[in-house]
Symmetry: C2
Subunit: 274 residues, 2 copies
């Protein structure tokens, strides 16, 4: 049995609630109703979500839409309108400072305020627009604040597009890095792609990136242009969606194929230099 570090028993916990990966993909979906949450989320996460009355959300509207889907399976403990849903402040440009261990007293205070319900004894759910909260989104600062306040943090099992893409790639899964978004400027992006290919070669490490869907094609073309022909390049498009797919090939062979990427479906790109 692990010896649990001390946490105050009269305080609430911060529960990290996974969301589906279909955010932004269901608008205009044929047939109306979104897919059953149980296809991609465990019942443990669904029932935990149904029991929470306090939330910290990346987006209040998508959180309510999520809770409506939860309610179809496990009745919520309170009506959606009665729930306390606080929204995470947008991170300032240059990234989420509080999550970097670089002290930012103002952000720390904001995060502590968001966690006031937990200090008062309520379990609080943290939820992102898609996948696991605090991974590739601005939620990490509030998790770090919870640790500072001595609150218990409980991550619940759910889908992460990054590790699903990694698993589906067949690339090295024993050393990998997610490096977020690449620069938008073409020249900077080209340099970054080459730098990351070097890191991949030297450290024998798979590199993963994501892009805003409408820039998928631009990124894809840049990867085909700037990576070496022998590098393995993988694409995972629409993970967990019915029409989702994953493919890996060498850059050399990809260059000979005509691949059309959608401009509205989340896609993960990864590569491993030979």
């Amino acid at each position: 049995m692990p010896s649990t570090p001390t946490t105050a028993p009269d305080k609430g916990r911060l529960l990290l609630i996974p969301n589906t990966l279909d955010f932004g993909c269901l608008d205009g979906a044929e047939g109306g109703a979104p897919p059953d949450l149980r296809e991609v989320l465990p019942m443990g996460a669904i029932t935990a979500a149904a029991g929470l009355t306090h939330w910290i959300a990346e987006n209040a509207k998508t959180t309510r839409a999520f809770l409506k889907r939860v309610n179809d399976i496990a009745p919520l403990s309170a009506p959606i309108q009665a729930l306390n849903i606080q929204v995470l402040p947008r991170p300032s440009k240059g990234g989420p400072k509080g999550a970097g261990g670089r002290a930012d007293p103002q952000l720390e205070r904001q995060m502590a305020d968001l966690l006031a319900p937990a200090l008062a004894g309520h379990d609080v759910g943290l939820i992102s627009e898609a996948g696991l909260p605090a991974v590739a989104d601005p939620g990490a600062a509030v998790v770090l604040a919870a640790h500072r306040l001595g609150l218990q943090v409980l991550p619940l099992s759910g889908p992460s597009s990054l590790v699903l893409a990694l698993a589906a790639s067949g690339l090295h899964g024993q050393s990998f890095a997610f490096v977020g978004y690449l620069p938008v400027d073409a020249q900077e992006r080209a340099q970054r792609i080459k730098d990351l290919e070097q890191v991949s070669r030297k450290a024998h490490q798979t590199q993963l990136v994501i892009e805003t869907p409408y820039r998928n094609t631009a990124l894809w073309q840049a990867l085909l242009q700037h990576l070496q022909g022998s590098t393995l390049l993988s694409v995972s498009c629409g993970l967990t969606l019915a029409q989702g797919w994953s493919r890996t090939d060498t850059v050399e062979r990809w260059r000979k194929q005509a691949l059309t990427l959608p401009d509205d479906i989340p896609t993960v790109f990864s590569w491993l230099a030979a």
Copy 2:
């Protein structure tokens, strides 16, 4: 809608089936029966597993134990003894070459042999002892072989201790690297810890490592000794288990606490240099 790259419709698919994270933790568990799979796995993965008759497994015995738990929820399409379960060859020392894009004709042939049932039209499940297959385990080579053979690869949503630990850490979730195991030799390990702290500082990147549970304490002491005091250090122990916990603090403050890590529970360590 994504334009799916061409895959032969008469061939079977390679389904990546998630396992629980309680591998090795249930021996001698009080009360006998293992927890309900639905707590941590989505029904989509459980029903997919129940329908498969062909498997490629890291370990046949643990796969049968998993399928017994599946059968408690969704009846298997064939008795466990009648299932075709092939075991992944142990990777040679020095890491899984086939997954590195470094050609290894013998390994490629072995992997293609494992995938023969898929080429003959059967869906085949790939499963690890814990978590997602092909992430931090030897499964990536068979996934890469599936791509080479033009098979469809379908990753199913499930728990990954690495991203759960990352989410629970509150450390930077927009750039992170998993670097596997650290060297066992104390001097080499010390150097590697310092090198990875440098990478974390320069790239503002969270670093994650795992260790064989009986070495948890040795690794913990090395981290406290060799990381700088201002570095944020996180521990996630027994993720998804009832007694699991996650804690993050600065190395300086960790040094003042007495923390006893279990020698038999999987633990993920991560840090972010200030």
